[in-house]
C-alpha cells in the first residue's frame, strides 16, 4: 500500500513540475492537433513536404530564379549540353531547359491541383447531399458514377479530348468530369455512416433543412478522408497530364509543361543522343508525384488511426 501511495505522489510531483515549467515558460505546451504532430513524426511525409515545397516555391518564384525566358528561341545555341551558362542545357529550339522546367511546373501543378480541387468540389457537393438524403437521386448518381468509373480513365479522358479539343481549360474540365466518381463514392460512404448518429437525428428533430444538416453539420466530420483523397488525386492528375502531354494530346506543345518537355523523347534520335532534353523533366515529374504520394500516405495514417500497416 505504502509503495503505491509513494508512486502516485511521485507522479503527481512530476506533473506539478511540468505544469510549473509551462507556467514559467521554460517548456512549451504541445500545440496543434494530434494528427499534425503525427504527420510531422512520419519521416517519409516530412521528406514529401520538403520535396513538394521546394518545387512549388521554385514554380511560384520562377521569374526570380530563372535567367532565361522559357519561350525564347535561340536557334544558334540549340542542343547545348548542361553548362554554367545554361544549367540544364538547351533544347532543339535553343530554349533554356531549366527555365522550361521551372515555368512548366506552374502549368503542371495548376492542372494537377486545380483538377483535384474541382473534382473534389463536384464529388463532395453531390456525395454529401445524396448520401444524406438517399432515395431516387442517390440511386441515379450512384449508377452514373459506376458508368463513369467503368471506363478505363485514360480512355474516357482521350475520348473527351477528341470531342472537346486540347487546351488547358478543357483539360481541367475533362479531368473533373472523369475524376469526380472516386471522391463522390467516398464522401457518400462517410455520410451513410454518419447518417445514423444521434446528433443528426437531433438536428432532424429540430426541423433543420437537409442542406444545412448535410453540408454544415455532417460534412466537417468527413473532412479527413476528403483531404487525403484530394492529395492523392493531385498526384494522379499530374501523372495524367504528363502522359497526355507526352502523347501530344494534352496541353498544346507551345506551353511548357513537364509532360511537354518529355514529349521530345518520342523522337528516338533525341531519346538516344540528347538525354538532357528529357531526363531532368522526367525526374522532376517523378519526384513531385512521389512527394505528393508521401504526403498523402502520411495524411492517411495520421487522419485515420484504423488504417495502418
Amino acid at each position: 500500500m505504502n509503495g503505491t501511495k509513494k508512486k502516485i505522489t511521485r507522479l503527481e510531483k512530476k506533473f506539478d513540475r511540468i505544469l510549473m515549467r509551462e507556467d514559467t515558460g521554460l517548456i512549451k505546451k504541445k500545440k496543434g492537433s494530434r494528427a499534425f504532430r503525427k504527420l510531422m513524426s512520419n519521416r517519409l511525409a516530412v521528406a514529401g513536404i520538403i520535396i513538394v515545397s521546394v518545387i512549388l516555391l521554385a514554380a511560384v518564384f520562377a521569374p526570380l530564379i530563372c535567367r532565361y525566358d522559357p519561350l525564347k528561341l535561340d536557334l544558334r545555341n540549340k542542343l547545348q549540353k548542361p553548362s554554367i551558362v545554361h544549367l540544364l542545357g538547351t533544347d532543339q529550339l535553343g530554349r533554356d531547359i531549366f527555365a522550361r522546367i521551372v515555368y512548366g511546373g506552374r502549368v503542371s501543378i495548376l492542372v494537377g491541383m486545380g483538377s483535384a480541387l474541382t473534382s473534389a468540389v463536384v464529388g463532395v457537393a453531390i456525395g454529401a447531399y445524396t448520401g444524406y438524403k438517399g432515395g431516387l437521386l442517390d440511386n441515379i448518381m450512384l449508377r452514373l458514377s459506376e458508368i463513369v468509373m467503368a471506363f478505363p480513365q485514360i480512355i474516357l479522358v482521350l475520348l473527351l479530348v477528341t470531342i472537346m479539343g486540347q487546351g488547358l481549360r478543357n483539360l481541367i474540365i475533362i479531368f473533373t468530369l472523369t475524376g469526380w466518381g472516386g471522391i463522390y463514392r467516398m464522401t457518400r460512404a462517410q455520410m451513410l455512416s454518419l447518417r445514423e448518429e444521434e446528433y443528426v437525428q437531433a438536428l432532424r428533430a429540430f426541423g433543420l433543412n437537409s442542406f444545412a444538416i448535410a453540408y454544415k453539420h455532417m460534412l466537417p466530420n468527413a473532412v479527413g478522408p476528403i483531404v487525403v483523397n484530394i492529395t492523392l488525386s493531385t498526384a494522379m492528375f499530374i501523372l495524367y497530364e504528363a502522359a497526355l502531354s507526352f502523347l501530344g494530346l494534352g496541353v498544346p506543345l507551345n506551353i511548357s509543361t513537364w509532360g511537354n518537355i518529355v514529349n521530345i523523347a518520342q523522337d528516338l534520335r533525341y531519346l538516344q543522343f540528347f538525354w538532357w532534353l528529357w531526363v531532368p523533366g522526367a525526374i522532376v515529374i517523378s519526384l513531385f508525384v512521389l512527394g505528393v504520394n508521401f504526403i498523402g500516405d502520411g495524411l492517411r495514417d495520421s487522419a485515420d488511426p484504423m488504417q495502418q500497416g
Binding site: 517519409l44 449508377r143 459506376e146 458508368i147 468509373m149 467503368a150 471506363f151 478505363p152 480513365q153 485514360i154 480512355i155 474516357l156 482521350l158 475520348l159 479530348v161 477528341t162 470531342i163 498526384a235 501523372l239 504528363a242 502522359a243 507526352f246 502523347l247 501530344g248 494530346l249 518529355v262 523523347a265 528516338l268 531519346l271 538516344q272 538525354w275 528529357w278 522526367a282 515529374i285 517523378s286 508525384v289 512521389l290 504520394n293 508521401f294 500516405d297 500497416g309
Partner: protein
C-alpha cells in the same frame, strides 16, 4: 445463387444500355456526316447527292433520334460496328486485327505482376519492419509515382541503346512469325506495363498476408509442430491469396489504360496504339467503338468477379 446472378444481371443490362446510349450520343454529336461511317467508302465516293439522299432515307438517318439509336444498337449486336472515317476499313476488322497483340501484352503483364507482386508482398510481410521490407515499400511508392512512359523511355535507353540487348519496339520483324521471334519484342513492354501493377499487388498482398499471420489457425499450425516455412507458405499464403486474386481482377481498367500509353511508347500494334492514332486524326467512330468495347469488357469482367466472389464467400449474397 441464381437470384443473386439475376439481380446482378438486372443491374448490368441497364448500365450497358446507358453506356451504349452515351456512345451513340457521342457519335451523333461529333462532326462529320453520319453516312460516311455507315456505308463502305467505295460506295460513298461513287454516289451523287440524289443517291446519297436516298441512302440516307434507306438507312433511316431522317428518323427520330431514339429510333436511329435502336437501329444502331441492333447493328452493333449483330456485329456491324461501322467503318473507319479515313481508311474505310470496317471497325470490326480493325478491332479483331489488333486485339491479339493487346491480349498478349496484357496477359504477360498480369502474369508477371501477379507472381512478383505476391512474392514481394509476402516476403515484405514475413520480414515486417526489416530493411528489406522498408526498401520494398519504398520501391512500391516509386512504382506508383514514376509515370510508366518514363519507365519505358528509360528501358529503351538502357536495354536498346546502351546494352543493345532488345529491339526498340514493334512486334515482329518482317519475315519472322513464331512466338520465339516475337519474344524479344515482348519483354520490355510487358515488364514496363507490369511495373505499376506489381507495386499495387505488392501492397495488397502484404496487407493480406499480415492479416492472415495474426489469425488463430496459424498458431494452431505452429503448435502442431509444423516447420515455419510450411506454416507461412502453405497455411498463411493460401488464405491471404484469395482477396489478392480478386483485387487483381478488379485492376483490369488500370491495365487497359496502361496498355494505351505503353503501346504508344513501344509502337506495339495493339488496340491502344490504334486508339491513340484515331484520337490524333479525329477518327470519331473508332474512338467511340474502342471506348465502348473496353468499357463493356470492364463491366462484364466485374460482373463475373462479383459472381465468383459470391461463390467463394456466401456472405456477399446477403448484401
Amino acid at each position: 445463387m441464381l437470384t443473386y446472378t439475376l439481380r446482378r444481371l438486372l443491374i448490368l443490362i441497364p448500365m450497358l444500355l446507358f453506356l451504349s446510349f452515351l456512345i451513340y450520343l457521342g457519335l451523333e454529336l461529333t462532326p462529320g456526316d453520319a453516312v460516311s461511317y455507315m456505308i463502305s467508302p467505295e460506295r460513298y465516293a461513287t454516289m451523287d447527292p440524289a443517291e446519297l439522299e436516298a441512302v440516307r432515307e434507306a438507312l433511316g438517318l431522317s428518323d427520330p433520334f431514339l429510333i436511329r439509336y435502336v437501329k444502331w444498337l441492333g447493328g452493333v449486336i449483330k456485329g456491324d460496328f461501322g467503318y473507319s472515317l479515313q481508311s474505310g476499313v470496317p471497325i470490326k476488322d480493325i478491332v479483331f486485327d489488333r486485339l491479339p497483340a493487346t491480349l498478349e501484352l496484357s496477359a504477360g503483364a498480369i502474369l508477371i505482376s501477379t507472381i512478383f507482386g505476391i512474392f514481394f508482398g509476402t516476403i515484405s510481410a514475413l520480414k515486417r519492419g526489416s530493411i528489406g521490407d522498408n526498401a520494398l515499400t519504398l520501391a512500391g511508392m516509386l512504382g506508383v509515382s514514376v509515370p510508366r512512359f518514363i519507365f519505358g523511355l528509360l528501358a529503351i535507353l538502357l536495354f536498346t541503346f546502351h546494352l543493345k540487348w532488345l529491339p526498340v519496339g514493334g512486334r515482329l520483324r518482317p519475315g519472322y512469325e513464331g512466338f520465339m521471334d516475337r519474344l524479344p519484342h515482348l519483354i520490355m513492354p510487358t515488364l514496363v506495363l507490369s511495373s505499376t501493377l506489381i507495386a499495387g499487388v505488392m501492397r495488397y498482398s502484404r496487407a493480406s498476408m499480415l492479416d492472415a499471420m495474426n489469425r488463430d489457425f496459424m498458431k494452431t499450425a505452429r503448435s502442431k509442430g509444423l516447420p515455419e516455412w510450411r506454416v507461412n507458405f502453405v497455411h498463411g499464403l493460401r488464405v491471404s491469396l484469395i482477396p489478392v486474386i480478386v483485387l487483381i481482377a478488379f485492376r483490369l481498367p488500370i491495365l487497359l489504360g496502361g496498355t494505351v500509353i505503353i503501346e504508344q511508347v513501344f509502337q506495339w500494334p495493339g488496340i491502344g496504339n490504334e486508339f491513340i492514332g484515331a484520337v490524333r486524326s479525329r477518327n470519331y467512330p473508332i474512338v467511340m467503338m474502342i471506348a465502348f468495347f473496353t468499357t463493356f469488357a470492364v463491366l462484364f469482367v466485374s460482373f463475373l468477379i462479383d459472381l465468383f466472389t459470391a461463390l467463394l464467400d456466401p456472405r456477399v449474397k446477403l448484401d
